[in-house]
Symmetry: C2
Subunit: 150 residues, 2 copies
């Protein structure tokens, strides 16, 4: 399950996506409009900045802003920053590989084999879904509901 941290990050990033190239947005504004605990959000945004997703500006007229286009920021990148590994086991993680301390032989571990498949299936979606894609989905979902479609 995604942590609150990750959900907050995604919410904030979606809000920043809607204001892409419209100048910095205040933490307090993000916090209020998106209903995110301010101090916690602070830490999250700082994290996203240090990982190269956001830029920031201090002083009046300052705030946070996307450093890349919403279409170039993938869900997988966000999750990895705030939650770490996406895979079921660390032994198949592409970005956080670690040997399972007790595993006698990785090459013949059937769980690892399945975990690999699950990882590929998940990443196939998460590395292809950008913030822009999510905004698009949102508008589609809203339209769909208005027209009473499912």
């Amino acid at each position: 399950m995604l942590s609150r941290k990750t959900k907050y990050a995604i919410k904030a990033l979606l809000a920043l996506s809607r204001k892409y190239e419209q100048g910095p947005v205040l933490i307090s504004e993000l916090s209020e409009k998106e209903m995110l605990p301010k101090k916690f959000l602070e830490a999250i945004l700082l994290d996203l900045k240090n990982q190269g997703i956001l830029g920031s500006k201090k002083g009046s007229g300052g705030g946070y802003y996307l450093i890349k286009a919403p279409a170039d920021i993938m869900l997988s990148s966000i999750i990895r920053i705030t939650d770490g590994p996406i895979s079921l086991t660390s032994c198949v993680s592409l970005n956080f590989y670690e040997r399972c301390d007790d595993c006698p032989d990785e090459l013949t571990c059937s769980l690892r084999d399945v975990a690999k498949d699950v990882r590929d299936a998940s990443l196939n979606i998460l590395t292809k879904t950008s913030l822009q894609d999510m905004l698009d989905r949102e508008t589609k979902l809203k339209k769909g509901r208005k027209k009473g479609k499912k």
Copy 2:
């Protein structure tokens, strides 16, 4: 990521699968041969029993045994017992549904929409992979390694 609990459970269940219909196996035997902490394993096995996966017998000649065929026990069932939800968000969980406390509208939440896709992709594998499948994979992996294949 899967918890240790889940990994231990899978290890133990695979061992019990190899001895399917050969009578009960001692906790202590499982613990030693599979290198699992005994007391922790005790709790896990009891859990699996209460969830209808294992049977048990007390007294001498007793132990734990599979109550269904290895081909009928799916990875998804095991993970759900020991780790809970498989999905990224509780709002798309088939077995542990819960509303996201802060979500203003589930029907137009784009994260939920993506989480649904990821859930389907993961479950497509996990509900189709049985303990028997894992044993089969294991032997295949062992053969493959002997012959030097990849």
